[in-house]
């Protein structure tokens, strides 16, 4: 059974692996196996698919560039597992990857999956790099094997709040009132709680906090209440489909606040949304994971993604960078050994530059990259621009929205 699955999985990346073999008359370096777990079926299939894409692009780039030099040019071989959008599915894949002898695992996407899978991996001291999963619990369990390159929930919400205040201040404080709309899951609820506690201290009045389920069948009443309250700002934190419904409904009812400031929104930093709903998307701001627009690799990756008829989302650069982190740590570790890899990962510093995220200097504390931060984007002229912070911005915020 396991040899059958091996051959199927090897078929996944045979081409780049062969490309990476150095043309020297010596023994072919053994491929390094990297486990990639993503939920490509079930409720989270959309994010899982793009996460896988990001990982594949990174592995292709590494192999095309000569593989892992410290291991004699060893190519990376992807061992892919479908988490089936459940934590037990993720755990089953971890076990299979362990049996296949992977050196590390990247992925998971959803916090419950990441929590369960990284826990299972810790039994084998198997390094686990979380791609998205923002729950703070992921890095607070004292597991030496678990790393997260991107920001956690606490950082995202604190940064979102700070940036909102900064953007508002810079524009002369046009907004004083806000309505929060959030999905009733982990980050939506937590974000709403934090904002309710902090916004009043920074001079904002929260008129109402509206929680909605995922999936939602209708946003008419949410729009109705927003219209009645007439806030200066709407702060939505929802998944893709629900924000599409909300923004369409807002557009229908001609509700135009001074700003729509999204946080970790599934649609606002998603090019499909921008393409399909240009009017609704225009000038919507988001505080989210996003790629560094200044790095040339970002534009190149985006072209390759769009050439495949897919859209540019944050899952791709995040997973790309996570795999690059693995490769970078492996180079420094110098040998295909899990313990050495964990140490190298923990020791990763600002010199790690093959990632394309707009982060501060890389430094891991308890597995969390302290440099990881979200950035603010805004849809302008059918494009998603980074508007804040200044170091990474490629456009100015257009705020408040008038007319």
């Amino acid at each position: 059974m396991s040899s059958l699955s091996l051959s199927r999985r090897q078929a996944l990346l045979a081409a780049p692996a062969m490309l990476a073999a150095p043309a020297i008359a010596q023994a072919q370096p053994r491929a390094v196996k990297l486990g990639i777990i993503q939920p490509v079926t079930g409720a989270l299939a959309q994010d899982g698919e793009y996460g896988r894409l990001g990982a594949e692009l990174a592995i292709a780039d590494i192999n095309a560039g000569g593989g892992i030099k410290a291991l004699g040019g060893a190519p990376i071989e992807m061992v892919f597992g479908d988490a089936r959008s459940t934590p037990d599915g993720g755990v089953a894949e971890v076990e299979k990857m362990q049996a296949e002898g992977v050196l590390a695992i990247v992925g998971g996407f959803a916090s419950p999956i990441c929590l369960a899978a990284s826990q299972a991996a810790s039994r084998y001291d198997l390094p686990y790099i979380v791609d998205v999963g923002v729950s703070d619990q992921i890095v607070s369990r004292g597991l030496a094997n678990t790393f997260r390159f991107g920001p956690g929930f606490g950082t995202v919400t604190a940064t979102a709040l700070d940036n909102l205040v900064a953007i508002n201040d810079a524009a002369g404080k046009p907004a004083r009132s806000a309505v929060i709309v959030h999905e009733d899951g982990l980050f939506g609820s937590g974000m709403a709680r934090l904002l309710n506690a902090e916004l009043p201290k920074r001079g904002f009045q929260v008129l109402e906090t509206i929680a909605h389920p995922t999936p939602s069948r209708d946003m008419s009443n949410v729009a109705l209440r927003i219209r009645a309250l007439n806030p200066d700002l709407i702060i939505p934190s929802s998944y893709y489909a629900e924000f599409v419904l909300l923004s369409q409904t807002l557009q229908q009812r001609r509700i135009r606040p001074k700003g729509i400031y999204c946080i970790l929104n599934g649609a606002a930093s998603n090019f499909r949304f921008v393409r399909e709903f240009p009017e609704a998307a225009n000038l919507v701001m988001d505080c989210n994971h996003w790629a560094d627009p200044r790095k040339p690799k970002t534009a190149e990756l985006r072209r390759r993604v769009e050439a495949q008829n897919r859209f540019w989302l944050y899952n791709v650069p995040l997973n790309y960078s996570a795999v690059m982190l693995f490769a970078d740590a492996l180079e420094r570790a110098g040998r295909a050994d899990r313990g050495a890899l964990i140490q190298a990962l923990a020791a990763t510093g600002p010199a790690f530059d093959r990632h394309i995220m707009p982060y501060g200097p890389t430094q891991f504390v308890n597995g969390q990259n302290q440099g990881g931060k979200p950035v603010n984007t805004q849809v302008q002229n059918g494009d998603i621009k980074v508007i804040f912070p200044r170091d990474f911005a490629d456009a100015q915020p257009i705020y408040p929205v008038t007319g």
Binding site: S5, T41, A92, E95, A116
Partner: protein, 319 residues
């Protein structure tokens, strides 16, 4: 209930112990532990649905109750795992009784009963997602605390033995029920409620006993899940996935039989994992095959043949 009748169950237990001792593949062990957890949940459903004929679509309510009460007691009140799990099971049983009292007294049956249980599970799911004590949307993480004293084991084989023991107990309870007066009354209610009532069976009491026991078993599965994965949230604990698993397995394996839930769980999980091997570049193909196989298994229930043979053999020797 004679020793002879319990032999298959003891046989299963011995087999499970042997597997845990000699199988080293953690892939297989993890698969088996998860499958047995589902089988325990299904065993609970089977009591009410298979024997009692009351098909519940909301057994997640009991699964989640067992999981959450056990987890909350451990995490928020520092209670040791063993009493916590026991309380979880008791809470699930109580919930079963409460729901039964409301629903059976109103005379709900058949599809109405099925859907009202679904509604209860949904209400609990929404509440668990919104309240503080359950951890709300962030879920509940049970602190890693390895040791038999905390019902957390470093190796999968120990969990397998634990799950097998719990399932064996559940099967023994099912067998005992089958042979008892309550069991006979339960089956009578399933076959023809009016006739049973005419014969003097206290319909309400029988159903209440069944649902409480059923809920306790499924609650035990929930508590075990929490100990194994150490993380639950409202969708894991009260989601429709577990309600569906709990009812699918007995129906496939043979509703109203002692081994039905286990056989069904093994078939379902086996098919699911088996088709996963076929995963390719295009997601979803493996699950299409799983759906097709599921329909085929229903159409050609070859796995029922051993059970039919066994029943025929027993029937020949029965007094």
């Amino acid at each position: 209930m004679t020793i002879r009748e319990t032999l298959p169950i003891l046989g299963f237990l011995v087999a499970a112990v042997l597997v845990s001792l000699f199988v080293t593949s953690n892939v297989v062990l993890n698969f088996l532990v998860f499958t047995l957890i589902l089988a325990i949940a299904a065993q609970g459903w089977n009591l009410l649905g298979g024997y009692g004929g009351q098909y519940s679509f909301g057994h997640a309510a009991f699964f989640g109750m067992g999981a959450y009460v056990s987890a909350i007691l451990q995490q928020r009140f520092g209670v040791n795992a063993y009493p916590a799990v026991a309380f979880g099971i008791a809470a699930a049983a109580l919930l079963g009784y409460a729901i039964g009292a409301m629903v059976f007294r109103a005379g709900l049956r058949g599809s109405y009963f099925a859907l009202v249980t679904l509604a209860f599970a949904e209400v609990l799911r929404i509440l668990a997602n919104a309240t503080e004590i359950t951890g709300g949307a962030a879920g509940l993480l049970i602190s890693l605390n390895l040791g038999a004293g905390n019902l957390q084991f470093a190796n999968r084989s120990s969990f397998l033995i634990l799950a097998a023991v719990l399932l064996a107990i559940a099967m023994l309870i099912t067998l005992a029920l089958e042979k008892s007066r309550t069991g006979a009354q339960l089956v009578a209610v399933r076959e023809n409620e009016a006739a049973a009532a005419a014969l003097g069976v206290d319909i309400l009491a029988v159903k209440l006993r069944a649902i409480s026991l059923s809920a306790a078993l499924t609650g035990a599965a929930g508590a075990l899940y929490a100990q194994y994965f150490l993380y639950i949230d409202s969708n894991i604990a009260f989601g429709t996935w577990i309600s569906v698993e709990a009812l699918l397995a007995p129906i496939i394996g043979g509703a109203g039989t002692v081994f039905g839930p286990l056989i069904g769980a093994l078939i379902l999980q086996g098919l699911s994992e088996g088709t996963k091997m076929l995963i390719g570049r295009i997601p979803g193909i493996d699950l299409i095959i799983f759906g097709v196989l599921l329909i085929l298994v229903v159409r050609f229930p070859l796995h029922r043949i051993p059970g039919l043979i066994a029943a025929r053999w027993r029937g020949k020797g029965a007094p």
